[in-house]
């Protein structure tokens, strides 16, 4: 008997029931919600404010540039300090043309100094960014470079995690990786002393924009 049959048979013997597939499939179809916290609810302005507040509480830096400002301008200080190529999403690459910094869309490497991603959405309840991998969207960019920038449009700030999943479901083919990011990397494994930049970025910079929904382009 294979391990698969062994394990399934053990479970069925213990549960002493044979056919419960109906209840399972119904639940998988209906996807009932649990309690959605009050902090995940509110109008767009409230959610935007809460998103910024929670993200900063998690040590992310938030920049809110004037409408229409291209990323190289918003990130001029970072671009000046970073040698080599800037790893970015295909959807953002056009913004870098003609400006400072060489933006490329590729898998990140250990020596990369700066990456700029487009977030699928932001979640107000905990100041969390939702990123998804895909063609032209290297997820490694969010983890290898010491400085990671994520652009998100104010129209893409949702209240809670459930609303974020609605966005992922609406975005089409399921991405291999969906990553929630709340602040820069950290560890307290040595003497419970919290330090930023454990393996992932030491700095997370959120560029909260208006009318520039890069992820959907």
């Amino acid at each position: 008997m294979s391990d698969r049959e062994t394990v399934l048979q053990r479970i069925r013997q213990r549960l002493k029931v044979s056919e419960r597939a109906g209840a399972v499939d119904e639940r998988l179809q209906q996807r009932p919600l649990g309690p959605v916290p009050a902090r995940a609810c509110g109008d767009a302005a409230t959610l935007r404010e809460r998103f910024v507040e929670r993200a900063e509480a998690a040590s992310a830096e938030v920049r809110q540039p004037p409408r229409g400002e291209p990323l190289p301008t918003t990130l001029a200080d970072l671009v000046a300090g970073a040698d080599g190529e800037i790893v970015t999403d295909e959807a953002l690459r056009a913004e870098w043309r003609g400006g400072a910094g060489r933006a490329v869309c590729r898998r990140a490497r250990p020596e990369d100094a700066l990456a700029v991603s487009a977030a699928l959405c932001g979640v107000a309840e905990t100041g969390t960014l939702v990123l998804a991998s895909g063609p032209g969207r290297p997820i490694t960019a969010a983890f290898l470079p010491p400085v990671h920038v994520a652009a998100v449009d104010a129209a893409d700030i949702v209240g809670g995690y459930e609303a974020a999943w609605e966005r992922v479901r609406a975005a089409g083919a399921w991405p291999r990786a969906v990553t929630w990011i709340t602040g820069p990397s950290r560890s307290a494994d040595i003497e419970q002393t919290l330090n930023l930049g454990a393996h992932g970025p030491l700095r997370l910079i959120i560029v909260l924009r208006n009318g520039q929904e890069a992820f959907r382009e």
Binding site: A21, S133, G136, T140, Q192, A198
Partner: protein, 470 residues
């Protein structure tokens, strides 16, 4: 990992005398519970979410076979592979096989208690693979040949100079940090591990959840190491207990609202990643192979019995953070992978009660663990279950067995019991010679070695009650 739970008493005694360990343990009890309380206060819906998630976990356990089949079908539909492991050996063999077929030489590993449980590092090393633990705490332990003493803060028992020594013994002088400040040591590990991430052929991670609707695995970290271990190598292997399944992303979201708050007091961990299958043909990055190893190893035996609630466990560590016994002796004394109250329930299941009979007794039954458990596991009740099994099987010491039998015989005869109690109280009063306390008492050296025993009062409770003193 060798099981040393049978030596709990000796290990606990050693731990109590270990000053460095005591300092570390004091910091756990100072840190985690306060942060958790603050986080819960900021989420008024915590209790309702706990009720909801507890119900979801019970629903899944009651339909576990079907959920596992749905999960498997979805992993396959996404281009991944599912492997079933009935026990620890099967898990090790399966993962070694996947690595061999992939022609792998090096493995980068995220922190996984399931992998500790099956002794995965030993199995991989025996197959000639070079394994690097990438969680900072686990990496330090690996260099020292040490084991985790806490399920979410594995190196909690070490101090900065222990880490400094471990690094000095294994890192080239060129990458060494200039001081033993935690920030510097962390930066040193970062420098060393970046190259390992990039060069690993296989990445192995655990899973905090498996999502049935999509066949996804979910893993949370604060460091980002599990992400580097699963997005960079050519092969990603997930090892997870069969108890990790939740139905949908909505259910996963509810559970995540409990997990970090209960564990570290964070609202959410820095990284929460849901992986579904291997990279798609046009993806910019991601592994070419995605495997999930579903581990039973005694879990299915918990179904349908009095210990079933244990399968709700989300491995947050709140029970040990709040346990006075864990706080006094630390994780290593428990002698295996899972310490604290949850370990006192799981270890007897996985290694046998005859090898771990002291663990369910390593509790004052104060009930704090059950109070703080986000999925409402009645841990003291489950420990009592194991105490009863131990008694039935006669695995406790002869002294305890005969002592309890004598006491039970007396307790069933109230008159005799009271007479004996009066006699004993009288003797103790004589021994105290009017000082009101005893510095040594027969049969109670365990008590009097570290504190005085108060001498019994002249008249006991029942006597005074009967005399109308109410």
């Amino acid at each position: 990992m060798e099981v040393t739970s049978a030596q709990f008493r000796a290990s606990a005694r050693r731990a109590l005398g270990d000053e460095r360990l005591q300092t570390a343990l004091a910091s756990i009890q100072k840190g985690f519970p306060g942060k958790r309380a603050t986080a819960l206060e900021a989420l008024p819906e915590f209790a309702a979410t706990s009720d909801h998630v507890t119900a979801v976990r019970d629903h899944v356990n009651a339909h576990l076979d079907v959920y596992l089949e749905r999960f498997e079908a979805q992993v396959q539909a996404a281009g991944g592979q599912v492997h079933w492991a009935a026990d620890a050996d099967a898990a090790g063999r399966t993962i070694v096989d996947i690595c061999r077929r992939a022609g792998a030489r090096s493995v980068g590993k995220g922190k996984s208690m399931a992998s500790e449980e099956v002794g995965l590092n030993e199995a991989l090393a025996a197959a000639g693979l070079q394994v690097t633990e990438t969680d900072l705490g686990e990496y330090i332990l690996q260099l020292r040949g040490d084991h985790p003493s806490h399920i979410i803060a594995p190196a909690i028992h070490l101090r900065r100079d222990d880490v400094d020594t471990a690094f000095a013994g294994h890192h080239d002088a060129g990458v060494r940090s200039s001081s033993s400040e935690p920030a510097e040591l962390q930066a040193e590990a970062r420098r060393v591990l970046r190259e390992r991430f990039a060069s690993a052929d296989v990445g192995i991670t655990g899973a905090n959840m498996l999502i049935a609707e999509s066949g996804s695995s979910c893993i949370v970290t604060n460091e980002g190491n599990a992400d580097l271990s699963q997005h960079l190598p050519r092969v990603h292997i997930v090892i997870a207990g069969i108890d990790k399944v939740v139905p949908t992303f909505e259910d996963a979201s509810a559970l995540l609202r409990l997990l970090a708050r209960s564990a570290t007091g964070q609202e959410i961990t820095v990284y929460t990643t849901f992986s579904t299958g291997p990279a798609r043909p046009d993806d910019s990055d991601g592994p070419a192979e995605y495997h999930v190893v579903l581990l039973d190893n005694g879990r299915s035996e918990l179904l349908g019995g009095s210990l079933e609630a244990m399968l709700r466990c989300i491995r947050c560590g709140a029970c040990m953070n709040h346990c006075p016994v864990y706080g006094a002796v630390g994780g290593h004394a428990y002698g295996w992978v899972y310490p604290g109250p949850m370990g006192a329930v799981l270890t007897p299941q996985m290694v046998g009660i005859e090898r771990s009979a002291d663990l369910p007794n390593a509790s004052t039954f104060c009930g704090r663990c059950a109070e703080v458990c986000p999925v409402q596991i009645p841990l003291p009740e489950l420990m009592r279950h194991w105490r009863e099994r131990a008694a039935e099987q006669g695995v406790e010491s002869a002294m305890v067995r005969y002592g309890l039998r004598t006491w039970a015989a007396l307790a069933r005869r109230p008159r005799l019991y009271r007479r004996c109690a009066r006699l004993a109280a009288g003797c103790l009063r004589l021994l105290a010679r009017g000082r009101g306390r005893l510095t040594r008492a027969p049969l109670a050296l365990g008590w009097t070695q570290s504190r005085d025993l108060p001498a019994p009062a002249r008249r006991g409770f029942i006597e005074r009650w009967q005399a109308g003193e109410r």
